[in-house]
């Protein structure tokens, strides 16, 4: 492909705008929180002040980190697995309407079973190790990616489909040059939703049965009424979630500089 080299690089990337507005709001909430706990005589076992949480994260950093790594591993493997399986499956379903008509209702039906509810069953089947947590994270991510990707793979306007046919190109070439790029915005939308769900899946798995991970640590902290540790874990979890989301967002920016949501 001549002329395509360097085209992406040449395109000036829009400056990444830091969300200052939300940072200010965040800071205000933290300050208000601190003030309420300080002046309102709120006992620390109900609502610890942010300063205590920060202190705790600092002092227990090693503990939190080791548990974070366990959870992060489950999240990442489950999440990546769901991408690797859902996207190609959506691509196949989009090519063969008959297969889609047969499989899609089953997939929807399978989604009506709450994943949280089958977590204990998965533990019974697959034990206490890494696998059931990965599986729950995978199951929870699977559907949003599949549905969004399927919409994406079918989003090609009639005119573009005509154009593709008039070139006489093979189905594979049409898929590669028309369907896949057209589907990418939807695929990323699904992956973004899934990136936040993956952590829920892993935590649920750890709640049911685990001897490590942030979900396990949360249960332990709650059991001993160590609310400061609970809050510390929640903070770490949300940071982990934000990081994963930001990673997907960055990938989207790099892959789809042309995409509508990037224009403004």
């Amino acid at each position: 492909m001549t002329g395509s080299s360097g085209q992406a690089e040449k395109k000036g990337r829009s400056k990444v705008r830091l969300p200052f507005d939300s940072l200010i709001l965040c800071l205000a909430v933290v300050l208000a929180w601190q003030a309420v706990t300080y002046f309102g005589d709120v006992p620390a076992y109900l609502l610890p002040p942010p300063s205590a949480i920060a202190e705790r994260i600092y002092s227990d950093f090693g503990l939190l980190l080791s548990h974070s790594l366990v959870t992060a591993k489950e999240v990442l493997i489950g999440f990546l697995l769901s991408i690797v399986i859902s996207v190609p499956l959506a691509a196949i379903l989009a090519q063969f309407p008959l297969v889609e008509r047969m499989l899609y209702p089953l997939l929807v039906a399978s989604q009506t079973v709450p994943k949280v509810a089958i977590a204990p069953l998965l533990v019974v089947w697959f034990g206490f190790g890494l696998f059931p947590k990965i599986l729950i994270a995978f199951l929870i991510c699977f559907f949003p990616i599949l549905v969004d990707s399927l919409v994406g793979f079918r989003s090609m306007p009639k005119e573009i489909a005509w154009l593709a046919r008039s070139t006489g190109a093979s189905r594979w070439k049409v898929f590669l040059h028309f369907q896949v790029p057209a589907a990418l915005p939807n695929i990323f939308a699904g992956v973004k939703v899934a990136s936040t769900l993956a952590i829920v899946g892993a935590i649920v798995g750890e709640f049911v049965a685990a001897d490590s991970g942030l979900g396990y640590q949360l249960i332990v902290a709650n059991g001993s009424l160590d609310v400061t540790l609970s809050f510390s874990i929640l903070i770490v979890l949300s940071v982990m979630g934000m990081l994963l989301f930001a990673l997907v967002d960055l990938a989207e920016r790099l892959a789809l500089p042309w995409h509508v949501s990037q224009r403004s």
């Binding site: 002329g3 005119e159 790029p181 042309w258 224009r263």
Partner: protein, 258 residues
């Protein structure tokens, strides 16, 4: 020489949930090599059906459609299509949008890149090659789509209300640009429109259609000079043709008489 496109006694009936709908009724016409034919009619007269038949995306219920003497039995590849929506690929630069044709056709892209750049220059888009569609105006986007329809040098150009979505001024500009492209390339063109003036200004013959089912009301020779200018629209001959077509539409109840 075989006509670039030939319809003979074509009928097309679609089956819908509310019964069969006849879209085309006994349509016969042909487009000579290098001729610019405008298909003029209100919505629902089967213009788009004509186009999909010519592109080989649909088969006639009865009758025959031929291109260059060959019966069309599959998607025709020796054509360029321009739609009302520009149908550009958002993820490709302007140049890459034009280059999709040689790429998909397995042609040597190195040979066609010069042609693509030349065409873009011809329509005034030199310097925009690396821009993305969202950075262009509606008129510019449609110009890119015209280049894309021409780059592989097809024998037949199919245009489906290509300027229908543009504002009036851009539209007038684009009409003249298209005319000049046609003068230079002398492609056979089937130009579908619902604008009487546009049809008369551009075409050598105007095929006037009436709706439900789509029938040919009349095929009108436009005996104006080969090279047209906007001024020609004030000439008596031009206004006569336009008036004739309007009366035709009135007679068929497409336009109301006042």
């Amino acid at each position: 020489m075989e006509p670039a496109l030939d319809f003979s006694a074509v009928n097309k009936t679609f089956t819908t949930s509310s019964g069969p709908v006849k879209a085309l009724d006994d349509v016969s016409f042909s487009i000579a090599e290098g001729e610019f034919l405008a298909v003029l009619g209100p919505s629902g007269c089967g213009k788009s059906t004509l186009l999909s038949l010519a592109a080989g995306l649909e088969r006639p219920t009865s009758g025959g459609v031929k291109t260059a003497g060959r019966v069309i039995d599959r998607a025709v590849t020796d054509i360029g299509i321009v739609f009302q929506t520009d149908a550009l690929l958002d993820w490709r630069s302007v140049l890459q949008n034009v280059m999709i044709q040689p790429q998909m056709r397995g042609l040597r892209t190195s040979e066609y890149e010069g042609k693509a750049r030349e065409l873009l220059e011809l329509v005034g888009l030199a310097g925009f090659e690396e821009k993305y569609p969202y950075e262009l105006s509606g008129g510019m986007r449609q110009r890119v789509s015209i280049c894309r329809a021409l780059v592989h040098n097809p024998s037949l150009l199919l245009m489906d209300e290509p300027f229908g979505a543009l504002d009036a001024l851009t539209r007038e500009q684009m009409v003249m640009e298209l005319h000049h492209i046609w003068l230079r390339t002398h492609k056979s063109v089937m130009f579908v429109t619902h604008d009487i003036q546009e049809a008369v200004l551009l075409a050598q013959r105007v095929l006037v259609m009436t709706p439900r089912p789509g029938r040919i009301a009349e095929i009108i020779e436009v005996d104006l000079p080969l090279q047209r200018t906007p001024d020609i629209m004030e000439s008596e001959k031009f206004t006569q043709k336009v008036a004739h077509i309007r009366h035709l539409f009135e007679a068929h109840g497409v336009l109301k008489k006042y």
